[in-house]
Every structure is written in structure tokens, then in C-alpha cells.
Amino acid sequence: MLVYLSRRLATAVVAVLVSSVLLFVLLRLLPGDIAQVLGGTQATPERIAALRAELGLDRSAPSQYLDWMGGIARGDFGRSLLNGRPTLDELGNKMVVTGPLLLASSVTALVVAVPLAALAAERNRRRSGTVLNVLSQLGIAVPTFFVGIALIIIFAVRLGVLPSQGFPASGWESPQAAARALVLPTATLALSQGAVLFRFARTAFLETLGQPWVVAARARGLTRRQALWLHGARNASLPVLSILGVQVASLLGGVVLIERVFTLPGVGQMLLKDVGSRDLTKVQGTVLALTIGVILVGTAVDVVVRLLDPRLRGVR
């Protein structure tokens, strides 16, 4: 286990390093820079040059990269070049909106998709099972932003029961309004996430249904459903857990789109705005922090799955 763990952690570190290089290079391929943004439409070339020097943008790219990595090694994710605030603090502030959204949509997806997957597995090749199956395909195929817009049209425009966009200006000081603002975004994210989860969980349940211990349970007089829940669920939870770990990354991508569609002041909107003003030190710090988070979750899930599943213990 120790060998496995150290190997897994080494892989994680390499993954972080590779993504940091990619991130650094890609961001610098963008046209325009922060000195121009600060200068605006009244700037002279001399002023832009002076601003670049003041912001340290005139240093060579490798030295900027090394400075950045040196900071990361000390746990310093940099500051915004515009307002000087530590990147991690700002990320934390925006998580007040994005965090509950991520958590609520994951929980909703899990709570809805897993029981439905069990039902679909139980009713495999029956009409209701097939209907669920087709619906989940649809959930995967339709783009997230399209679902968001459709939900806005139905629940905000037609029925008028939920706000179409925005987040209360006072934030969580008005908890009810804040929670209501998150309902449609949560549903949108949960739908696409849940559809994927459903596919994997259904396959996992179907597999356990064919196992000898389920057959044995049936022989002891349990119904198909009881056998599935009592003996199948724990086994099916392993692949579901794995896929949840993988989904964290795509979920973060979805959040950027969803916050845009619903104009929520969260991490996604912050990133879009920072890219727009070319606050690159902050963007690279934010994205790297999120990347590290995703890699850590993935690693943790792998380790947990390995601990839970005795069959994997001997494998390197």
C-alpha cells in the first residue's frame, strides 16, 4: 500500500507540474496584456512600457515562471496584479457561491441518479428501464448551457416561480433569496452530471445482478430488489465513486458556463473577468489551485477505492 501511495503521489506531482507549464504558456499566447487594459483608450506607448516595467512584465518568461513556481512551492499562489489581493483569498470568497453550487449539484445528481440506475438495472429490458436509459443518453448529449436556457424559459419566464438569473446583491444575508437563485443552476448541473453517473451506476448494478452471491440471495427468498440493494449496492458503489472523482474536473468546466448563463458571481465569472483584464498571475494561480484540488480528489478517490476493494489490494 505504501508503495502504491507514494507512486500515486509522485504521479500527482508530475501532473501538477505539467499542467503548470501548459497553463503558463497558453495564457501568454493570448493577445493583449494587463498594461494595455490599465492604460485604456488614452494610453501612449511610453505609458504602456512604464506600466509593463512596474508590473514586472518585461522580465523573461522563464524567470517569471520560476518565480511563480517558487511561490507555489511555499504555498503562495500569487496576488492579483490589479488589486493586490492574494489569489487564494479571492478564490475562497467566490467559493461562497460556487461551493454550494458544486456540492448541491453533486448531491442531487447522486441522490437522483443512483436509485434510478438501480431501478433501470432491475427493470432491464423492460419498458420503463429502456425509457430511463434513453433519457440518460439525452442528458449526456444535450449541452449544459442549452439545458440552462431551457430551464430559464420554463421556470422563470413561463411559470415565473424562480429567478432567471443573478444572485442577491446582499449574498447569503438573504438566505432564502440566495438559495432560490441557486435552484436552477443546481438543477442544470445536476442533470448533466447525473446522466453520466446514471450510465455508470446502471452498468455496475447490472453486473452485480449476474453475480453468484446475488443469485444465492435470491435463492434464500429475497426479492430481486432486496437482493440488489442489500448485496449489490455496496459493490456498485465502487465504480460510482470512481466516476464521481473523474467528474469533478468536468463539473468545474460546467460551472464556468453555468455561472455565465445565470450571471452568478462565483469562481467561473471571476475567472472570465480576470482573463478579460489579463490579470494573468491571478488566473494562473486560481486555475492551478483548482487543478491541484481536482488531482487531489482523483488521487484520494483512487486510494479509497483501493482500500474498499479487497480484490485490488495485491495489485500494484
Binding site: 487594459v37 485604456g40 488614452q42 488589486n83 461562497v96 456540492l103 436509485p115 449574498g171 471571476m270 483584464s277
Partner: protein
């Protein structure tokens, strides 16, 4: 048939659900019981500043929230536009117009308690004329600033008629001379102190209890920033904000007839400019530029925003002393436009690239495309981020047509810079504007600028679709808010909220 419910959902799901419920509840509770904000005015705005550094950060967003509220300027303007004393007295100017001497207002102190001295003013003026300053160009004629006892003496290289006006704006803002970093803080002398900045959503100001002038009637002011025009109007109608600045003309129409709201079509200095690249092969020809102007129906353009806005016909807004109605130059006439294009050798049509910043409504781009199509000009639109626009259009002039609302006041001077992104190079205009700056008589200066504006319009250096309407909407019971240029400067100190 029933489920074995005790086992649904799986154990991990249940735990996660509890965690999330607990988290949401904790968040809600932690932020409950905030202060009673009944006498704080909530102001909606469109553009949030990117940084609070008044020296380096250009743009009206910063002036809107900080000038007059947190920072004050050396000089001020009264309601008729005359320059009056601010933190400094009206300067005495030497015969040759190159030495300005003025005293400093007594009994003023900064928010941190430091008293205002002549040294602070010297320090501030030097900061604002430094090379990284956003307003260095406005103060370029200054060669030295010195304190002489309690007075400040400014020496100029030559006479500068626009200096007093510049000192009523950001260039005249007064900072404490021990300021080191003001990206995320502010230490001014104004009626409000900066309380907090929630980046991405709002800036809170508190009443300055030891303000030297009349105390504001409100306890504080909060600027809320909306990236979406609909969300901004919604916030007004749901009572989240009291006043909305920069409201979208097409959205406020229903509020105009509603007695619960007051809609003001405020004046502005924002020329909605269709920029021509004068160094282009086709657009270098004045006939082609004039043809484009004559092909665009400006009255129809105004209807896009429900008539909010003003037709100008040149680079000068009516609020400037050298304004003159130029709307009779290059009037709408598609037939004449076609003829001009044919004369210039484009009878078979012309294709131009419109690089359009995505901060503006794309209906503007669509309108230009459809109008120019009628005279045989094909416009290919490329929508870009503003930062890309700054790089490609503003810096490199890699474009044919572009669109920007030039909100800076008295920005006719840009037409005297051949390197400005329009690449408009007219010796005559450059001379007129340079001479105006040196003129001894203000009337003479105004006349020279008037002639420059006419020449710029006759040359069709750009097209001016309209003057942008800075629309302010306030709910019933709010008085004392500014209505002119409210997106560029918003003094909240005279606002009164009627008791509910």
C-alpha cells in the same frame, strides 16, 4: 410493491447530503443579523473598477465611485460648469500664464487623521504627472510643483488653457503624501470612507464622521455592479437598489410611465464613435469615409435605444463650450453615398472588416452591417474581447472599422495625435488644437476648437452615431442624486432617502 426505504440512498449520499445541508445552513446563519442599512443608499452601476489605484488605473468606473465621494479635487465645477474652489483656492495666474499659485483649504484632514498640507498636494500632482499615470497627458504642460509655506506653486512650460479644468478632475485629486499602495485601499478627504470592496459585486462606503464640509444625509453608500443589463433593472424593481446608473435604454421604457420611478436621460460626454482606420487604402480616401457616414441613418440608430441619446455630427458633446451643431455635415443620403463610392473607384462594392469590442451590444454592429449593405459595402464583423481590441485595434491599428464609446471629456485632442488608433493626420487640426491651448483669451480658444471640430467632421475622420445617453433611474423617494455624466462621476453625498 414498496422500496426498502431504509437503505435508500446509499450511505455516502446520505452523509454528503447532511454535510451540504449543514454547510448551507451555517453559511446562512453566519451572515444573518447584518447591520440595519435602512439609511444607506444602494447604487447600481455597470462597470466595476479593476483596481482602486487612482494613479495607474484608467477608466470612468473608478472616477464614478471614488471622486467626490472618497477623494476630492483641488478645484470643482458648479452647476453651470464654472471652475470654483475645491480643496484649493482658485489659483492666481501670472501674466504669461505659466505660474499658478494657490492656497490650501484649512481644517481638512484625511480619513486616517493626517491633516491636509501643501506637501500632500505637491506629492499628488507629481504622482498624477508621473509616467505610469492615467492622466499624465492632461498635466503634461507642468514642469514643476513646489510648496511655498502654505501655498503651492505650479510652473508650466507654456500657457495651458485646459489646466484648470484638468484640476477639477482626476488629475486634481488629492492623496496623502505617505500613500504607498492604493490598489485595494483609499485614504482621501471626501465625505465617505472606503469601507470594503467585495470584488466582483460591490463597493461599500461609510459616512466620514469628521468631514470638513456638510455631512452627507445618508449613513453610507453601496455601489453594486451588474454585468447584465436585465439583472440591473430587476434589482431596481425588486428594491435591492435605489438608483441605477448606466441603465439600458431599451429596458427602462416600462419604467418611464411608472410613477414609482424617475427616469432621467442624463447628458454625457460619450461619443458613440464609428472609428475609421484613416491609414487604410480605401478609408484613406475622404470620399469613402464620407460615403460611409452618409449611408448610416443616425435617427434610425437612436430608435434602437428608444430615442435615448443625442445626434452630434462631430467629436464634441453639447456640454463643451466649443460645441456647435454639425449634424448638417454628411447627412443621411444613400444615393449620394453610392455616388461617392463610385467616384472613389468602388462602384462594384467594397469589403471592410469591423472589429467590434464585445462590451457593447451587438445590435450596434448589426445595424452598421445592414446600413452599409444598402450602398454596396460588405462589412465582416469580428467580435473581440476588449483586451484583444486594445492590442489589435488601439495599439496595432489592425482594422478597417471599429466602434467605441469615447466617454472621456474634452477628448477632441485625440484627433490631433496622428498616432492615435484612427491614424488621422491633419496638420490643420493639429495646429488649431495646439494654438487653442496657448490662447490668452478663452473665447479665442473656444473658437479655434470649434474650427478644429468642424474640420474633423468635414474630413469624416470618424463617424459619430450619437452621443450616448447616461440614463439614471431612481425609485420614488430618492432625491439629490447626480443625473449628468452619472457613469463617470457620482457624488452620493447629497442624496436623501425619504423615510419609508
Amino acid at each position: 410493491m414498496t422500496f426498502g426505504t431504509s437503505r435508500v440512498p446509499g450511505p455516502s449520499g446520505a452523509r454528503a447530503l447532511c454535510t451540504s445541508v449543514a454547510l448551507v445552513a451555517a453559511l446562512a446563519l453566519a451572515s444573518c443579523g447584518g447591520s440595519d442599512d435602512s439609511n444607506t443608499v444602494s447604487i447600481g452601476a455597470v462597470l466595476e473598477p479593476t483596481s482602486l489605484d487612482l494613479v495607474t488605473t484608467s477608466g470612468a468606473a473608478l472616477d464614478q465611485v471614488l471622486l467626490d465621494n472618497v477623494y476630492e479635487t483641488l478645484l470643482d465645477t458648479d452647476s453651470e460648469g464654472n471652475v470654483v474652489a475645491g480643496l484649493a483656492e482658485i489659483p492666481t495666474v501670472s501674466e504669461d500664464g505659466t505660474t499658478y499659485t494657490f492656497g490650501v483649504r484649512d481644517g481638512v484632514s484625511f480619513h486616517d487623521g493626517d491633516p491636509l498640507t501643501a506637501d500632500d498636494i505637491v506629492w499628488s500632482l507629481n504622482a498624477f504627472r508621473g509616467e505610469t499615470s492615467a492622466v499624465a497627458a492632461e498635466l503634461a504642460s507642468i514642469v514643476s510643483v513646489e510648496a511655498n509655506g502654505s501655498e503651492v506653486v505650479i510652473e508650466l512650460a507654456q500657457r495651458d488653457n485646459s489646466l484648470l479644468f484638468s484640476l477639477t478632475r482626476r488629475g486634481g485629486a488629492v492623496l496623502d503624501d505617505d500613500t504607498t499602495d492604493m490598489k485595494d485601499s483609499a485614504n482621501g478627504t471626501g465625505p465617505f470612507t472606503l469601507a470594503s470592496w467585495n470584488v466582483g459585486s460591490s463597493i461599500d462606503l461609510d459616512r466620514n464622521g469628521s468631514y470638513w464640509g456638510p455631512a452627507p444625509a445618508v449613513d453610507g453608500a453601496t455601489f453594486y455592479y451588474f454585468t447584465d443589463a436585465n439583472a440591473a433593472v430587476n434589482a431596481l424593481t425588486t428594491g435591492e437598489i435605489d438608483v441605477l446608473t448606466g441603465a439600458a435604454g431599451d429596458l427602462v421604457l416600462p419604467l418611464e410611465d411608472d410613477p414609482a420611478y424617475t427616469v432621467t436621460n442624463g447628458g454625457s460626454t460619450g461619443e458613440m464613435t464609428l472609428g475609421f482606420n484613416n491609414s487604410d487604402e480605401a478609408l484613406g480616401d475622404v470620399r469613402v469615409r464620407t460615403a460611409i457616414r452618409r449611408a448610416i441613418d443616425k435617427s434610425a440608430f437612436l430608435e434602437l435605444s428608444n430615442g435615448f441619446g443625442t445626434l452630434i455630427g462631430g467629436p464634441v458633446p453639447p456640454s463643451d463650450p466649443w460645441y456647435e451643431d454639425l449634424t448638417d455635415i454628411a447627412t443621411y443620403d444613400p444615393a449620394a453615398a453610392r455616388q461617392l463610392l463610385a467616384d472613389a473607384g468602388y462602384a462594384d462594392g467594397l469589403t471592410l472588416k469591423l472589429v467590434f469590442p464585445n462590451i457593447y451590444s451587438t445590435t450596434v454592429a448589426e445595424f452598421i452591417v445592414s446600413q452599409l449593405a444598402e450602398v454596396g459595402v460588405t462589412v465582416e464583423v469580428e467580435t473581440v474581447e476588449f483586451s484583444v481590441w486594445l492590442d489589435r485595434v488601439f495599439t496595432a491599428a489592425d482594422y478597417d472599422l471599429t466602434f467605441v464609446i469615447h466617454i472621456e471629456p474634452r477628448d477632441i485632442v485625440n484627433y490631433a495625435q496622428p498616432g492615435y488608433y484612427w491614424r488621422y493626420d491633419s496638420r490643420e487640426v493639429q495646429d488649431l488644437i495646439a494654438t487653442a491651448k496657448l490662447a490668452t483669451d478663452p473665447a479665442e480658444a473656444n473658437d479655434l476648437l470649434r474650427r478644429a471640430a468642424r474640420k474633423i467632421s468635414e474630413d469624416s475622420a470618424s463617424d459619430w452615431l450619437a452621443l450616448f445617453a447616461d440614463i439614471v433611474v431612481a425609485r420614488d423617494g430618492v432625491t439629490g442624486y447626480p443625473v449628468n455624466d452619472a457613469s463617470s462621476r457620482f457624488d452620493a453625498s447629497r442624496i436623501v432617502l425619504a423615510a419609508d
